[in-house]
Amino acid sequence: MENADNNLILSVKGVSKSFPGVKALDSVSIDCRRGSVHGVVGENGAGKSTLMKILSGVYTKDSGTVVFDGNVIEQTTPIQSLKRGLSIIYQEFNLVNTLTVGENIFLGRFSEMKGMRNIHKKARELLDSIGSAISTHRVVGELSAAEKQMVEITKALSFNSKLIIMDEPSSSLTADELKRLFAIIGDLRKKGVTIIYISHKLDEIFELCDIVTIIRDGKVIDTKPIGDLTRGEMIAKMVGREIENEFPPRPHCAGDTLMEVKTIRTRKLKDISFELKKGEILGLVGLVGAGRTEIIRAIYGADKAKELRILINGRLADTKKPRKAMVEGIGLVPEDRKLEGLVLPFSVQANIAMASLPRISRFGFINRSKEKDISDRQIKNLAVKTPSPHTKVVNLSGGNQQKCIMGRWFEINPDILILDEPTRGIDVGTKYEIYLLIKEIAERGGSVIMISSELPEVLAMSNRVLTICEGRITGEFNPESDSVYDIMNAAIG
């Protein structure tokens, strides 16, 4: 099979894959040149991860051919792919937190390595080769996200990988760390290693990649050199329609002060105080781990605080527990949809009515028709795509699951709705719908506190932005007039 092109490290032709009821990949073809950085973009559920999992051998393809490094690959397993020189670095790291760095790098190959001392020696050499000083004896659980990524890259190198696929590598990195990652990717490219870079963040794709492939609904829409595409075109191809704006125009409804956070103190948070106006959308900006989520969880009573003083409408509010916070008119759409938001094996109806139990029951007895009314109303109101209210919520897509949680709170209609990463892992189309819903809350006179790791999103939606760094509020900005640079600067600290 030396026929095609020795310049190609990977050649995928007509690969299809079906799951019961879904065609995940429809005759997908991609060619990757040696030593290039190849971007792959697409909405969530477009089929990127399915393709990657076929390449790595987690799934088997239904049809089509894959040629890697001149060899036709029929069936493979993750470990075989690794040994051939194809590594994948997943978004959630594939590292064992309780083992050391060295053991992780040579995980699954202990018997080949002949002793722990040899493992640590080899690991040291590899880490040095990418300029990382992490001790091989440290336990991985104690490392930062960036350090873990270095370990992952080292692990890929230990297999002499020719192709490294990175799935959303930047999602938990700070700007500085991202720069270092880009430098390492540049180094690898010089050494002839090919990188496939999957990301939602188009800025990174434009900065880093040579070629980009756009996937939508299981099909390859286009593959073009990065210079031939504009941002707008790329988004249009991902979504399948021209979106004029990624965000709806922000509402301007801010009125009187509704909530004053006088002080929040925990071990991580230091004297947080700010206020929130009626009808206002307040954005919290900061790096992952800066304390954004901790602030809102403390306000909502989900975590204990050493000191917590909040005034709502000028009156001292008791929000020590979520239940009490709800009585004070606060709602929370939590960060992790599946772990903290939904009861996955329960129906859409049960998930929507979850927080409304007191209002649909009299003398402790549930009024079932009211329960049905609530879920019907919210399914319609939020356009939740579900076959029936009795469908298990686990069977819905991420966006529709998120709408179920939003619906839960829309029914209660709290004065203050806190949204933690409301659009994480949701496709572009549904994102827009969620922005409209957020806007609707503000227009009805409700206040919103919004956290998002996607800076453009917060900046476009909020009336006011607070920057948070290392547990402190470091600045207050007006996203319409202040520069992104200043805001980012305050967030980095």
Binding site: P322, L332, L339, E340, F346, M354, S361, G364, F365, I366
Partner: protein, 325 residues
């Protein structure tokens, strides 16, 4: 064509696997009915109802614990201690008074379990398993200590015990009184579970305790509540248990936790939490009781019955995981 056939075959195996325990017991019953003419007599029917007694009450209580996503191994300790203390109090405060004290004691011990779990922050089934086992040791030891290890005989009690005798022997029409009491409990708990906000909250808690807490459901109170219900129902069991026999020992509650869990799981309530109902448990108890009845009639040795019961338990848990995963 072959694919269709294959599909049908997997469907059939899936069905059989799902109802394996059910089918096995049904087959056992049918075989017994054919082989043993004694099975379908009025006498045996009364027997069956009697056997329903103690186990059914604990199983009802255990249902709430399992739906809530937890487990309670303290049942043997609670039953033993309640039985001993209630009987010992009959002479001093009268029969009904002693029963009320016993029931309250059961609820309090259950509450204590729940409170310990809440305070220590144990939110998984595994931790609940260890802690309630420890509590069972504690309650059981208290029962042993109370009687210095000896048993307690009803016939030595000077006070007349009409209520106890009625509960043990009485009939309402063709139903035994204890069975009627069970039906009343079943009705009340069914309504509680399916119609009330509190009952629904138990399901939410079992389904996802974190999400439930964040949606304003008082999960900690729910935890205490379900353990209190289970403790109370165990106390009811204890009373029904000594109402039928004349003697009770400080270890009388042994194995009740196993049989209760078995009945709940055989009935189809999932050990993974969130799903199930007391009606299913009623079904499960029926199956378990029928099974022992049939084995007795067929003359299976007592200890071999233990083995088979263990086998049914393991199979039921295994199938539950297959179904819900």
């Amino acid at each position: 064509m072959t694919k269709q056939l294959h599909l049908r075959r997997t469907q059939i195996t899936g069905f059989v696997m799902e109802y394996l325990v059910f089918v096995t017991i049904l087959v056992l019953v049918i075989v017994t009915a054919i082989v043993q003419p004694n099975f379908s007599t009025a006498q045996n029917f009364t027997n069956l109802m009697r056997q329903f007694g103690p186990l059914s009450f604990v199983a009802l209580g255990m249902t709430f614990i399992i739906i809530g996503g937890f487990i309670d191994l303290s049942v043997p300790g609670i039953i033993s201690l309640v039985a001993i203390i209630t009987l010992s109090l009959v002479d001093t405060i009268g029969e009904v008074g002693a029963m009320l004290v016993g029931l309250a004691l059961g609820a309090v011990m259950g509450c204590l379990n729940g409170v310990i779990l809440v305070v220590s922050g144990a939110s998984t089934q595994a931790k609940a398993l260890f802690i309630t086992f420890g509590m069972s040791q504690l309650y059981g030891a208290a029962a042993l200590l109370y009687t210095s290890g000896t048993s307690m005989n009803r016939t030595f009690i000077n006070h007349p015990m009409p209520v106890t005798s009625a509960l043990g022997q009485g009939m309402v029409g063709f139903l035994s009184l204890s069975f009627v009491v069970f039906l009343c409990f079943l009705f009340v708990l069914y309504i509680f579970q399916s119609r009330t906000a509190l009952g629904r909250s138990i399901n939410y808690t079992g389904g996802n305790i974190v999400a439930a807490e964040l949606s304003g459901i008082p999960t900690k109170r729910i935890m205490v509540l379900i353990y209190a219900i289970c403790g109370f129902m165990a106390a009811v069991s204890a009373i029904v248990l000594f109402s039928r026999v004349t003697v009770t020992t400080p270890t009388v509650g042994a194995n009740f936790e196993r049989d209760a869990i078995m009945a709940v799981v055989v009935g189809g309530t999932s050990l993974l939490g969130g799903k199930g109902s007391v009606l299913r448990t009623m079904m499960g108890v029926s199956l378990v009781v029928l099974m022992s009845n049939c084995m007795n009639l067929l003359g299976v040795q007592t200890h071999l019955q233990e083995v088979l019961r263990g086998l049914i338990l393991v199979t039921a848990i295994w199938l539950d995981h297959r179904r819900h995963r």
